[in-house]
Symmetry: C2
Subunit: 303 residues, 2 copies
């Protein structure tokens, strides 16, 4: 269907068809009715595919207890991506100063102080504190759809500051967790291919910060701790990750004191579908008008 | 069904039935599977009731362009409630200092600077910039479900820092906007009563900041610019607002330069169902187990 892959072209096409509604700042935009409908239908397809797994559904707000972020070591690796929430805690007089600064078009940063909450930096983070203690024999399996924040303004429509992730989290012994991850990696590729998307999986690494970051990323790749499922969305040569699989080993088990029934530190893994990216992959692959999509794709999403 | 109304009792009941999942910080908690199911069903009921209105569906992320907040004058009235997003923009060396501070359990506030985004302070705010210009003859009618942030940590489960609002926004001439608001006020009360909730509407005011705030609130009440629909949830004497109606007159029309076809400044109004509060009202009124709710209520939500 589509010939040209570029970030500008995708953005223009999405805006022209009212699938996204631009606002001033990059990476924050509204979603139109058809975009939302496709997103909900893709999300429902994931539910159908995962139905028999018996995952426990939870939902968390876009904001997270600051202490969970502090404990998670996220800021050791990705300080540039995390968002913390500040607010005003001053007097009437200071409020006057804040107002004057804003109305004069000046910075009002000095009248803001840190609150007890931050933005959710990754879809699985909110759930780990609720696992503290000894897990049941079969471990935990959780199903969530959470908003995630990343401080990375970009004109690429696929690189958002705020996006939704359909996330599954598995907690258990190493065997259980790795087998589950591998099952989903296969299933994820199949699910996306069943929608006519040319999905491929690959080993991947995270955008670690700073000079030490390159080594951490190489190490992560070597240990095959992160996989992604990729589909061409803004580039044919550099396909976009629409699904991401992370094997954390004992990382969260240690940090949040999660034990297996035999007393060992529990392992965790998660996988997430970037819902907006999946929707954009569908629009780019099959065209901007869903009523004109190939019949097999429509039958999967409009069953 | 229920006898005792108190914030503690509701919180305990919701936690006991896994409808909410506590995290460390007040007003930020996870939602369980049944809670989410009821919320989705209530939201779908609102859709059915509003179906013929022909509202345009949009969805916005929980984060907003900072310039929209600055322009909106929200910080003039409610600086204590607004959340701004900060992040790290430092060097490798400063990252080392940030890390040391966090691992030592110290404040890391000094290594955070203001970004271009803030948290959405009210569900209707993201949409106004897209109305700039001349509106069509019939104005605009938009239907959204957005996450809202309020910096007000509280042990009351009904007073959340993050919550979802099903929001409708009307833009047009004064006549059109007020008539629409009044139609919804009646419809909102009827909708909630059809679910067995003892809903009552009343004139209301916003929690304006500071010494001048009391006068602003009195003025708002006198002009009948804000109505709420209230249901007892944590108190019989002080029922909780589950639905809120705001008539902004020319406020947003002026700020975002929105004109009617005849060249006048357009007026706006909005109404929002606080979705979590509606769900909590159902749990408090009919009990914590939806399968045991009265048949007429179940038929409305499980049609």
């Amino acid at each position: 269907m589509t010939s040209e892959f570029s970030a500008e072209r995708l953005y223009e096409d999405l805006v022209e068809h009212k699938h996204i509604i631009p606002v001033g700042v990059p990476g924050i935009f509204g979603r139109g009715a058809i975009f939302e409908d496709v997103l909900r239908r893709f999300d429902a397809l994931v539910s159908r595919v995962a139905e028999k797994d018996g995952a426990v559904v939870m939902a968390f707000p876009p904001t997270l207890d600051r202490k969970v972020l502090e404990r998670s070591e996220f800021l050791d690796s990705f300080p540039q991506l995390a968002g913390s929430v500040f607010s005003f805690a001053g007097t009437d007089r200071e409020h006057g100063q804040l107002r004057d600064a804003i109305h004069a078009g000046q910075s009002w940063e000095s009248w803001q102080t840190m609150t007890g909450v931050v933005l959710t930096p990754a879809a699985c983070y909110p759930v780990y504190p609720s696992f503290t203690g000894t897990i049941p024999e079969n471990g935990h399996l959780v199903d969530m759809q959470n908003w995630v924040f990343r401080n990375e303004p970009s004109p690429e429509p696929t690189r958002m500051q705020a996006f939704r992730v359909r996330e599954f989290v598995r907690v258990g012994t190493a065997d259980v967790v790795v087998e589950w991850r591998d099952m989903w990696l296969k299933r994820g590729v199949e699910l996306l291919r069943s929608l006519g998307l040319p999905a491929q999986s690959d080993v991947a690494s995270d955008p670690f910060f700073g000079r030490g970051g390159r080594m951490l990323a190489a190490n992560q790749k070597e240990q095959k701790l992160k996989f992604e499922v990729l589909v061409p969305v803004i580039s044919r040569e550099k396909p976009t990750a629409v699904c991401s699989f992370n094997y954390h080993q004992e990382h969260f088990g240690k940090l949040f004191d999660i034990k297996t029934p035999s007393g060992e530190t529990a392992q965790t893994a998660c996988l997430g579908f970037g819902l907006e990216r999946c929707v954009m992959a569908l629009f780019r692959t099959h065209g901007m008008v869903p009523t004109e999509w190939p019949k097999p794709v429509r039958e999967r999403l409009w069953p």
